[in-house]
Point group: C2
Chain length 185, copies 2
């Protein structure tokens, strides 16, 4: 347990179908560094997690509907993967507007696996450099991004990784970048 | 039982995660009209189907690996949906090459729900008009397509529908279009 994220509050945006380890491990790293986190979703109650998309893998309790959340209340945003998770988030205008507004503030945004689909939907990838799960790279390129195959990619505010195999490096990177980001006045 | 598809052979390309009704109902319509069909996939044996992406929904027996299939052996191509199905197909170079080559022949290609993702991957959607499940429409537009919200869309060789709710109209349309397509010499 360290304390470099003391006073920092991270929004995690996810819904049913989220890949369990891609929410749980980053969450553990953020809390272990002294940060706070809130899970935002499309509905209240619990969301159902999956393992490798196929197997049910328990639930996470939602803190707030994304429609009721304010971008200004958070210092960073985390978008986990799981194929079905962003596939639903991107159809929700409140979720997409929250992500677009968050990116526009310049605050750190971290995403892994299929998570960047929601960034493509928000139209904020033009000229950005990132990585992702292989299946969505054509969609990200068609949305204007430069896509590479690396463990962790950092392009200004954007931190990205390819999938569960990258979680150790991803978690280390997000703690460092979230800690070093300028805090809003 | 009618016979308008007598002598016509349809390739169905799908893998694990296929939405059961989007394979089963069109298959029934094609066989009921006197046609033949073969299930092509990424592996031999059986593929696992799903219901609304979440629930296991039995299996389908694969007839042939897509890597071993020849475009010239089929009169039409069917690409069912299910989120995880095209998400895997599009990462397989043999599957993507088969789809691209099929489109280039001008023979009919029918797709529903998330199925068009594989067409986006194959780079064959520029200037095409189609419909799909709502979540992937931004990806299709970014791939150069005109995307509309209609029950069935027919643009030259391409027949598309939005999801399970459109299956009755989709099945009727594919039987008609597959029957009327010019047969290869």
């Amino acid at each position: 347990m360290t304390n470099e994220l003391h006073g920092r509050k991270v929004a995690i945006l996810a819904t049913d179908g989220v890949e369990r380890v891609e929410l749980e491990e980053p969450l553990g790293a953020l809390l272990g560094a002294g940060g706070q986190a809130e899970l935002l979703s499309l509905h209240t109650g619990e969301i159902n997690a999956r393992q490798m998309d196929i197997d049910p893998a328990g639930t996470f309790t939602v803190d707030k509907k994304v429609a009721d959340a304010r971008v200004g209340d958070y210092d960073a945003l985390l978008l986990p993967g799981g194929t079905m998770n962003p596939d639903q988030l991107r159809t929700d205008p409140d979720a997409v507007a929250f992500v677009r507004e968050f990116v526009e503030t310049g605050k750190p945004v971290a995403t892994i696996c299929h998570g960047p689909w929601t960034l493509a939907e928000a139209g904020v990838l033009h000229g950005r450099r990132l990585t992702s799960w292989p299946s969505i790279r054509t969609d990200l390129r068609n949305a204007g991004a430069e896509v590479v195959d690396e463990e962790v990619v950092i392009d200004r505010q954007l931190i990205s990784s390819r999938g569960p195999q990258d979680l150790p490096a991803f978690c280390k990177a997000i703690v460092e970048r979230f800690a070093n980001a300028p805090q809003p006045a």
